[in-house]
């Protein structure tokens, strides 16, 4: 029954080829460091799911932001869990993506033909930092407010462009409701759109090239 259905679907979509390409591809014998990319991907999914759930109650407006976050943590059933997963997941994501990048550097996996995988990774790292920076403001408590005051002030320090950069980040001279909404818009629309498309490209390239093997001392490889 199930078999007949999957045959029927395969004849119309060719899903089996894709499935096998993703899950049954050959991988060289590697070590646990090679799981860091998958661990990053796992956290991405966690952040997307819990983040969407948070928007069900969160309001990006100075009059309500703080109260809505307090409401989530203290009143909503399991709200503490959903917020906790997103909060700790954010830190874990920065750490895991960074460690994944280090492993790619130390094992030389960024070399030909994987440069584009690397470039997309560099942007993914910046996007990850962007998520952390914009998300930190959203609870709109003292810590959030002053951390973002400082963070955006740093953007204002370079000569010539500093002033404009600061105004673009804050949506004006000061940290106001304008800042909160634009950070929210970045955090839930712009950055996720970039992140998800780049993760798609990144993983596609990983599958296309296959995972690089671990380099061996004294071995010269011609591929």
């Amino acid at each position: 029954m199930l078999n007949r259905f999957s045959n029927w679907l395969d004849a119309r979509t060719g899903w089996r080829n894709i499935w096998e390409g993703i899950f049954l591809r050959k991988v060289p014998k590697v070590n646990w460091l090679y799981t860091l990319g998958s661990a990053s991907l796992f956290i991405v999914v966690n952040q997307v799911v819990t983040g969407i759930l948070l928007t069900i109650y969160y309001v990006p407006n100075p009059d309500h932001a703080y109260d809505s976050v307090q409401y989530i943590t203290t009143q909503v059933a399991l709200g503490w869990l959903i917020r906790g997963l997103h909060h700790w997941g954010a830190s874990a994501m920065v750490v895991l993506v960074f460690l994944h990048m280090l492993r790619v550097i130390f094992l030389g996996s960024y070399k030909f033909p994987r440069e584009v995988t690397w470039f997309s990774g560099v942007v993914l790292f910046l996007v990850t930092i962007g998520f952390g920076f914009t998300g930190y403001l959203l609870p709109w408590d003292e810590k959030a407010y002053w951390a973002t005051t400082v963070g955006t002030q740093i953007a204002g320090t370079p000569p010539v462009i500093g002033d404009v950069a600061l105004r673009i980040l804050r949506g004006g001279e000061d940290l106001t409701a304008m800042t909160l909404v634009r950070f929210f818009g970045m955090h839930v629309w712009v950055l996720p759109a970039i992140l998800l498309s780049l993760v798609g490209l990144h993983v596609y390239l990983v599958i296309k090239h296959g995972i690089s093997t671990t380099p061996k001392r004294g071995e010269i490889k011609h591929e």
């Binding site: 966690n46 819990t50 069900i56 307090q70 909503v76």
Partner: protein, 159 residues
């Protein structure tokens, strides 16, 4: 490793992946559902008996509109909500309090003095002065509040 043990290892890993993946999905999926529906299941506060006004305001034979404000907590916001009540009496002794919410699909009904009936503009529902349905789609008479009078003041029970 022999071909056969290789295959069973692969099968085992495939099963383990599906199993652990399913467990993680359930572990976040079930809390997600609880999180979304949780606040819906909370009971809204009961306001009890509310004074709506003096009996002298009600002319026998004509439904009279009273409006009271109550405070309701919705999430982290406390807001004011208006409750509109038509009070009716035939004899100046027995009073009835009717909600102005149409029993069809919750539009607000209005007393039309010239026609001596309640009219709902949404789908032309018509009720008489006691709240009974005269025409249109409403399935039952206008809802009533529990009412009492004390020292010529009218009180209704707001749930």
């Amino acid at each position: 490793m022999s071909e056969e043990s290789n295959l069973s290892r692969r099968k085992f890993l495939a099963k383990a992946t599906v199993g652990i993946g399913g467990a993680i999905t359930a572990l976040i999926g079930i809390p997600a559902i609880i999180y979304v529906v949780g606040p819906v299941l909370k009971k809204e506060g009961d306001s009890g008996w509310m004074r709506i006004g003096p009996t002298s305001k009600v002319t026998p034979g004509t439904p009279t509109l009273f409006s009271i404000k109550i405070e309701r907590e919705t999430g982290w916001v406390t807001n004011q909500q208006d409750i509109m009540v038509y009070v009716y009496t035939d004899d100046g002794r027995n009073y009835a309090a009717m909600s102005n919410i149409c029993t069809h699909l919750a539009c607000r009904v209005r007393w039309i003095e010239e026609r001596q009936e309640f009219f709902c503009p949404c789908h032309n529902g018509v009720f008489d002065k006691h709240g009974n349905v005269l025409a249109g789609p409403p399935p039952r008479p206008l809802d009533r509040f529990e009412l009492k009078t004390e020292n010529d003041e009218i009180f209704i029970k707001v749930g």
